[in-house]
Subunit: 306 residues, 2 copies
């Protein structure tokens, strides 16, 4: 299973010309999960060549505008583009009221089923599960109720060796079977064993999104050993008091979370617009946790290579 | 009085990378009126160097998303930037509910007074008036209730002759008095007559915004002789049936409105995204009304020179 994360927006609070508010797209083996949807997300999807109709599930962390003001526009566009397939929305209950009211005001009856799944505020639960992936919420700590999201691959998929596709002329519709462990039968009847065609990854991919939030001690156990942690770093450490007061995290908070959770890599974002040079935040975070990246609009992280 | 109109967005329904949904900024002698506020308007304001705190009045034509989905983001940004001065919002009643619900969900108590003025759906009235300008609503015809806006200069302002500013070293704080007809007293006591310092414009500026709407016969009288008419042209004439069915106008509808209203100039916009070359719409409109311009994101129309 491949995990690819596209950063659609990384800024906090107020969008700028170059930096959009929070939105990310996790492509988990062609399942498209949108995480948060700040204003302008639909245009960011266009810029990154991601077709809205591919998105099947949307997760909204909390109801501050920089995390959801683009959602109604995206839903409206899906409707206007003639979407028929269902869309699943995971968010706090109040969002359903807001969307319903906006659809009512424009006299819009959606052409596709929109299933709303309220996220519990006081406990973790499985939000989504299929044969290959399981998704939980995490309880975050912010000025209003806020949820993190933990995406875990359930079953190791095998990777097909590229040269073998050409050598045996393997058709596309056989790929998934082979990835799942099947042998391949040639036209002359010969059987090629799966072990000859594939390699297997050492570990399962996993991703956790934590924003907006202060440092939450209890979540360290939950993120233990995951491939990639996205953790907000609204402020640098000298503004630790302001972070505490507003329910946000500093660079060092995020780094400590990553370090104590023994995660593979850390991705930081949701930067206060007071910072012109994001490398200052990166360097401070790396002083505690070296394997850190900046979330920059338009960047793509492939979990097979980080 | 100067009238300058900045086009912030001209597209219909679905935003693209280059074309934003409807929003316009009318600067009437440093009174900043925002007309409609599609998603992304706050970033368009940034790109066009218009500071949000300057906007005192916002007019929303109707509650289809491409005309207001950017409003809550703009209000939120004004709040975060510490705005204290009042904001006046003119829209259909339902918008107040939507905004109140969104502010409640984020636990936001605005730092500035937001005065909501419902627009009547079945009659025209004065929405705003001061010594220099008067603004009415117009009743449009669309699939949901929709309002046009008519901005009329009330009193001819005189224009100061640039060379005279230098010759007599006229300070900025005297400009408005001179524009309003006052003489100017030099430091040595001499009085310079207003007629020597100024010229007077031939006519009063006026602007009417009509979108979204079908052709409305009754409004021809209302726009008679205005300086500039903005009229939507969602479709070209070959799609007249589709225009009728959806409550929109064609190029020829807009041109006929301008011609029969004997307006000075016509500005067309709200183009369906099916049109790649907007010049096709422009040429068709010009075949009936030659003094037509395209509304293009980022363009500025100065009423003194059109």
């Amino acid at each position: 299973m491949s995990f690819k994360l596209t950063i659609l927006g990384c800024n906090s609070a107020i969008p700028t010309i170059k930096k959009n508010p929070t939105a990310q797209l996790l492509n988990a083996d062609e399942r498209f999960f949108l995480i948060d949807c700040g204003e302008g997300t639909q245009v960011q999807l266009l810029k990154n060549n991601i077709k809205p109709h591919k998105i099947s599930h949307i997760f909204i962390s909390h109801l501050h505008g920089d995390h959801y003001f683009g959602l109604i526009g995206l839903i409206n566009t899906m409707h206007l583009l003639g979407r028929k397939t269902e869309l699943n929305l995971y968010a706090h209950q109040k969002l359903k009221e807001i969307i319903d009211l906006q659809l009512l005001a424009s006299n819009t009856e959606l052409r596709f089923p929109l299933f709303f799944h309220p996220i519990p505020l006081d406990k973790e639960k499985v939000l989504y599960e299929d044969a290959r992936i399981i998704i939980h919420n995490l309880i975050l700590k912010h000025s209003i109720p806020s949820s993190g999201f933990l995406f875990k691959e359930k079953k190791k998929a095998r990777n097909i060796i590229k040269e073998k596709i050409e050598e045996y002329n393997i058709p596309i519709n056989e790929m998934n079977n082979i990835k799942n462990g099947s042998d391949f039968r040639l036209e002359d009847g010969r059987i090629i064993a799966n072990e000859e065609l594939t390699t297997v990854r050492k570990s399962l991919h996993s991703y956790c999104f934590c924003s907006d939030t202060a440092f939450v001690e209890e979540n360290i156990e939950r993120i233990k050993g995951i491939t990639l942690l996205y953790h907000e770093t609204t402020f640098m450490q000298d503004l630790a008091d302001k972070a505490k007061e507003t329910g946000h995290s500093t660079t060092i908070d995020a780094a400590n979370m990553a370090k104590r959770g023994k995660v593979g890599n850390l991705l930081i974002g949701h930067f206060s617009s007071r910072y012109n040079d994001l490398n200052d935040l990166l360097e401070e975070t790396k002083s505690v946790f070296p394997d850190t990246f900046l979330a920059i609009d338009g960047s793509v992280l492939d979990f097979d290579v980080i």
